[in-house]
Structures are given as C-alpha cells and as structure tokens.
Amino acid sequence: MPPLLSVERLNKYFAGLAALKDVSFEVQEGQICGLIGPNGAGKTTLFSIIGGSVSPSSGTIRYSGKDVTRWKSFQAVRAGVARTHQITRPFREMTARQNVEVGLHFGRGPVSRSPSNEVTAILEGVGLGHVAGRNAASLCVGDQRRLELARTLAAKPKLLLCDEVCSGLTETEMNEVLELLRRIRERGTTILYVEHNMRAIMSTCDQVVVLNFGQKLTEGPPLKIQNDPAVIEAYLGRTAAN
Amino acid sequence: MDAADFANLLVSALLLAGIYAAMSVGMTIIYGVMKIVNLAHAGFLMLGAYFVLELYERLNVDPLVGSLLAFPVFLVAGMLVHWLLVKRIPVSDQPTLASLLLMFGLWLVLQNIGYLIWGNSDRSILTPRTLSSLHLGPITIPTVRLTVFIPAVCSLGLLEFVLRRTWYGRGVRALMQNRYAGRLAGIPVEKMARLTFGVGIGFAGAAGGLLAQLYSFSPDFGHGFLLRSFVIIVLGGLESFWGAAAGAMVLALVETFSILVLPAGYQPAIAFSLLVLALVVLPGGIAGIFAKKHRWA
C-alpha cells in the first residue's frame, strides 16, 4: 500500500541559507509519526511546505500517490491535509465557535445536517465547551492552543500536521491532548507530529523522524531513536553521547 | 530630436529626480521606522510651501533660506503631532489601516486650515531666479531648478551622513529593520519614534518650500506629490536610500521623456500607473532586485 505522505529529496533555501536539505521520508496511513530535532532544524519549514503555505526550492511531496508539491494551503485542506501553527493564529475578533465553524465549512467536509451541534461537539472534545461564545482574543494561551487544534480538526483532515501542541501545557493537560490525538488516530486520521517533549513523542508515536540543521539525521521506532548516539549528540552535544 | 534636445531633457530629468528624492525622504523615513503611511505628508508639503511664501512676501526672506528655516519649525510641529495623535494608535511591524486613516484625517484637517487661512486661489513664489536661465553649452537650465536641486541633494547627503555616522542614525536603521529587536537592544523606541516623525515632517516642510519655487500651489497641493513619493518609496524599496534615489531617477526619467509620446494631459497618469505597476511587479523595489543578485554571488 503506498504511503499516505511521501517526502522526496526536499530542499528549501531562504536567501542562500539551506533550511532543508535533501529530506526524504514516508508516513503510512494510520500512523502517528513524530518529527523531532533541535530548534532551527527546519521542522516548521517542513510543515509549511507539506501544508502548502510555502513552496520548496526543489523536491517532491506526494499525498496518496499524487504529486502535490506546489499546492496552495487551501487546496491541501480540501484534500485532507491540515496543520496547526506553532504560534497560534486564532481569528481573534471571532468567537471560538465561529473559529471552528470556519474550519468546518471550508475543510474537507462533509458538513452534517446540524453544523452547530457538530461545532459544539468539537469544542467539547477539546475542552472548550464552556467558552464557545467568547472571542478568541480573550482566551488564555492554553485555550487558544486547544482552539487551534479544534479548528483544524473541524476541517476533518486525513493527515493532521500538529506543530507543538503540547508546549505550555501542564502535565495533566498534555495527557489529555495526547489521549485526544490517539483517539483521532483511532478514527482514521494520520498524524505527523512535531514536538519537543520527549515523553509525549515516546508515548504516542509509532515512528520518529529526526531532523538536524535541515537534514534528516535518522528515523525509526521511538526506542531506537532514544538510544541513538547521533540523536543524543544532536540534542546534547558530543560528550553526552559518549 | 537631436543630441542637444536629448541632453536638455536628460538634465531636466536629473534635476527633477533630485527634487523628487528630497520630497519623498520625509515619507520614507516615517514609513521605514514606524510603518506609517503618512498621507498627511501632502498637507505638510503644502504648509511648507505657504510658510516659505509668507516669509518671502512679508519679511523678504529668500525662499531658499525660508526652506532651511522650515525644517526646524516643522520638526517641532511633527513631534507635536506625534505626541497628540500618533502615539495613541497601536503600532506594529506592519503598516496598519488605523494609521493610514488617521493620517488621512489629519490631511483633510490641514487642507481645510490652508483654505481658511489662504483661500483657494493658486499662489506662486516669483524671484528673479524664477525667470532666468543658465546656459552651459547647448544645455539650458532654468536657474531656479538648479538652486532648488542643490539644497535638495545636500539635504539628502546630510541625511545619509546622519544615518551612517551618528548614534541616532544607527538607531533609526535598526528600528527600520526590526523594531522589537531594537527595543531589546536598548533603543528608546518611543523617543526615537517621536524624533523621527518630527524629522520626517521637517523634511516635508522644507521640501514643500523648495517645491513652491517650482510650481504654483493651493491648499490641495501635495496630492500629486503624495503619489509620486509613494512610487519612489515602492520603486526604491524600503531599506535603502540609494534605492529611493534610483526610484526618483526612474520616475523623473519616465515623466520627462513621456512628453515625447503622450499628450501632456495624460502625464499625471504616469505616476499612478507606475505606482500600480511597481507595487505589483517589484515588491522589493529596485534595491530588492539588486540585493537578490548579490545573494547568489
């Protein structure tokens, strides 16, 4: 079975600086695939390219076998690839409910007979049921993160690109979010997941891809990655690896 | 058209470019540091023109000196405007509509003040220089154009010096690139913004005085120059004053030589069309194109 997502020899240069160099990997349908790497490794750039907001300098992206390298982000969403942002971008003067409505009506669809019930269900699923009527700008950061996730989920993605959904959350909140991700996967959504929190990665991911300085360092199941000296060196330096 | 005509047109364009560059500097510096599109720039050009006119007609002050005097007067006025109005709107790294509309409102008010004080008839400044010309071989230059060009270029040179060699100038350039980082680096952003706004208005006033010696004016003066200033800023890109000079050159050349192909009535449309073209085709301005070339070298 062809992989749901295939990244082939992706390169991205910003004004002569290589943000991504020759990155290739695959994500199978139904997986939760983690993407890790130190800050500046190129993870968010990779997301932006897969999601369609940025186009690569060279390389190919395949989604369900089709070449989608140069698609625009709204085309990606309609096809089922949607992302959350590392720094949340809620529609500030719109209510939480309205934010989710946008995702619902302009995502992959289909929209049920009772969209407002669907929106309520999504909001309650991420724990925002009680603030549905409040302006997104008035929500605290943690709630804005949940709103970002809710809005993206409303678009019914087949491939969800999650960019650091756990940062800034408490231990309990993080567990809730991870549980949510697992449930989403059970319902058939594939997840590509950028995260710094190692515990989150280890406990949820089926496979992990490691980036460093824009290049793929290695990939494999979480346990293998955890003990790989090259990965440890990338994060903690040479002495820690030895 | 023979070589002498061509040379004359070229010189004409060059002189015009210098003046256009000086005229747009005020808007450029305010936009660069504060990301505010100062539509009231036109209003201050107009007030500068009347300021110099009054000094000339009442006190017999030579318009060139008047323009020089306009700078500190308008600098203070600009700082006052900033303190009263501009500092009350939210600032950001991106130009905001609130600032655009605020400056537009201010322009309307300035225009009306102009009408109230000076009425709506056209005025002009006539000095002995206005009607005489210089002859350099085959080239004829109206004297007034030269006497306006020289202070314009000098003021640009002075500004460039200030920007490159003084503490204030370094701060301005830093803020133009990244306001937030500038704040972190310890630059007193609010005070800098106020002073820079003042400097921008100061240049507008002085430029208005210079322009008044070349064109007739009334309270809605500055309208056409506003768009021209913006064309220059956009053509020149934002970070570079050489770019602005290049932009002014392009505009001046196109305008001057267009007389050969277009009826005079269509001339104002040139700046407008060039503006739209520039905004769409050259988002980084001329300097942006050159910078790109550099990067791959």
């Binding site: 999601g51 907001s53 625009k72 709204f74 969403v77 309609r78 949607a82 992302r83 942002h85 971008r89 529609f91 500030r92 003067e93 719109m94 309205q98 946008v102 995702g103 009506h105 302009f106 995502g107 992959r108 809005r151 993206t152 678009a155 | 599109v37 009350r88 709107i89 130009p95 905001t96 509509l97 609130a98 600032s99 655009l100 509309l101 605020l102 537009f104 409102g105 201010l106 309307l108 008010v109 300035l110 225009q111 009306n112 003040i113 009408y115 109230l116 768009l227 913006f230 956009v234 009826p263 009535g265 269509y266 104002p268 449309a269 407008f272 069309s273 503006l275 739209v276 905004l279 769409v280």
Partner: protein, 327 residues
C-alpha cells in the same frame, strides 16, 4: 439552550421588524408632505447608502480598504448616461452600468489584492486617478467639460427617489445575507488573518474577487442612478478622489463591518453634508477630518460601536438596579 435560541429568534425578528419599519417609513415619507428639498436630500442619502453598503462589503467585512471606489462610481455613471442617451430604458442602463463596473473590478482586483492593507489602499488611489485622468482627456465622453443626459419627459423626482430606495434596500438585503452566511464567515476570516484563513481551507483571492465584484456592481449602479438624476456628470466629480473619500468615510463613520453601520453613515453624510456644505462650506473638510481622527482614536467601530457601548452601559445599569430591587 432552548431558551437561548428562542431569545436569538426573538432578537432576529426584532431586527427584521426594525429594518422593515424603516423601509416602509421611507417608502411613505414622500407622500407625507415633506417637500421637494427633503426628498432630494433623502435621494442623495439613499444613493450614498448604496455605495456605503457596497464599499463595506470589501472594506468592512473583508478588511481591504479601497481608496479608489470612485472608479466604479464613475464608470457606472458614464455607462448609464451613455446608455440612456442611446435610448436604453433606465433600468437596463443601470444594469449595464453595474455590469461594466463588475467587469472592471477584475483587472483591478487581480494585481492589487496581492498587496497588504495600506499598499492596497494606495494602489487603488493610483488606479482611480489614472482612470480619472484618462476620462478627462477622452473626447467622445466630453472630456473635462463633462457629459449631459438628454432625457425626454418631465423631471419626476419620485421616480428617482423610489429607484434609489429600491436599490438601497436590495443592497442592504445582500449585505445582511452575506453577513450571516458561510461566505461572510470566510470574509471575516480573511480580514482577521489571511494566511491562517488559507491554512484552514479558505481561498482568499477568490473570496476577495467575488466580494469586489459585488461591491463594484452596486457602486456602479449607484453611479448610474445618480447620473440619471443629475443629468450632467464630469470626471472632476464622479471620478474624483474626494468622491472615493466620501464613499469610504460613510461606512467608517457609521461602523465598518456591520450591516447597519454603512446605512447610518450614508444617511448621516447625505443629510448632514448637504446642509453642512451649504451652511459652513469652509469647514467641511475640517469636520470630516476631525471626525475621522476622533473615530480612529476613540471609537474605531463608528456610530454602531458607540451605540453598542451606550447600550451595554444602560444594560449594566438596568441590571444593577434590578438586582438591588430584588435583594
């Protein structure tokens, strides 16, 4: 939950009733002996309501502030004028005027919508002024001396009035429909954060082009309605920068981004402006400039926003007194 939706239902019905009453009132007014001068003022206000509502679709709902809507107003005016002189029935002429403006909106929008806010605003000034200069030099439309409409038959002010009222009502209905629709939601998203909107499935360029087309059509029709009434138009009037300014001032003063705001703005401007220009011609720019400054600094949501704050204040006071009287 049910109580809330019932309340909502009541609220919406209250709104529809308010609009309906206003419409009927405006419809009956000319028969109540208000005199030709007031009819003329109301007619002007209604034409401005059309342009305000139209501009607000693009500028208020979608956040793309255009300083060049006079180009559509002027194109509509000239198209309708030429059509009527050519023997076309006025309503047909208005339709063609709207169509021409609609078509013009595409080559204007395509290049300019790539630009961020203020750059877009300035580009629209450029476009509008370029067209004005061209029209001033074009001889077959009269150039700078303008263009006259020669219509047969007496001048019937009521016909003009009801035409304007009809189109204004239509514009308001379109505006309200968009406001409550999924399309309107996407416009709001584009206004809030265009890139995030794209990242969630909205095609920003398509949305902008569609709303621009609607706005241009309505504005073109308004220009046509005005042209027929005035029977004489010239580039220094219908294509002027100050016309673009008027078109944008009204919805901003009334309250950009709402349905009622541009209507309030249109009436305020139309009714007050005429009187103001007659009584204090030397102050009118000052007043508008000062008003704009005050609005930007203190109440960016215009009259509607101010009324909203007033209402919230009264609601709080009423609730406080109700609470104390219960306790």
């Amino acid at each position: 939950m049910r109580a809330a939706s019932v309340q909502m239902g009541r609220f919406l019905n209250y709104r529809v009733a308010a609009w309906g009453t206003t419409l009927i009132a405006l419809g009956i007014l000319p028969w109540c002996g208000i005199g030709p001068n007031l009819t003329r003022l109301l007619f002007t206000a209604l034409v401005w309501v059309i342009t305000s509502v139209a501009w607000n679709l693009l500028g208020g709902f979608t956040g793309q502030v255009s300083f060049g809507f006079a180009v559509f107003y002027g194109l509509g005016a000239y198209t309708a004028a030429i059509g009527i002189n050519g023997g076309i029935h006025p309503l047909g002429a208005f339709a063609i005027a709207g169509l021409v403006a609609a078509i013009a909106s595409i080559p204007i929008g395509l290049p300019t919508f790539r630009l961020r806010g203020p750059y877009f605003a300035i580009a629209t000034i450029g476009v509008s002024e370029a067209v004005r200069v061209v029209m001033t030099n074009l001889s077959f439309t009269g150039g700078a001396s303008g263009y006259r409409i020669a219509e047969h038959g007496p001048f019937r002010p009521l016909e003009h009035y009801y035409t304007a009222l009809g189109f204004a009502a239509g514009a308001i209905v379109i505006s309200a429909w968009i406001y409550h629709s999924k399309f309107g939601l996407s416009l709001q998203a584009v206004r809030e954060d265009e890139e995030a909107a794209a990242d969630i499935g909205v095609n920003p360029l398509k949305a902008k082009l569609i709303v621009h087309l609607l706005a241009a059509t309505l504005t073109g029709i308004a220009g046509g309605v005005y042209a027929r009434y005035a029977a004489y138009i010239h580039p220094q009037g219908v294509f002027a920068f100050h016309t673009s300014v008027a078109i944008l001032l009204m919805p901003i003063i009334g309250g950009a981004g709402t349905v009622a705001g541009p209507v309030i703005g249109g009436f305020v401007y139309g009714l007050v402006q005429e009187e103001l220009v007659a009584a204090f011609p030397q102050f009118h720019l000052l007043l508008y400039g000062a008003l704009l400054i005050v609005i930007i600094l203190f109440e960016p949501r215009g009259v509607v926003g101010w009324l909203g704050r007033l209402w919230a204040f009264f609601e709080r006071t009423w609730r406080k007194s109700a609470a104390t009287s219960v306790g």
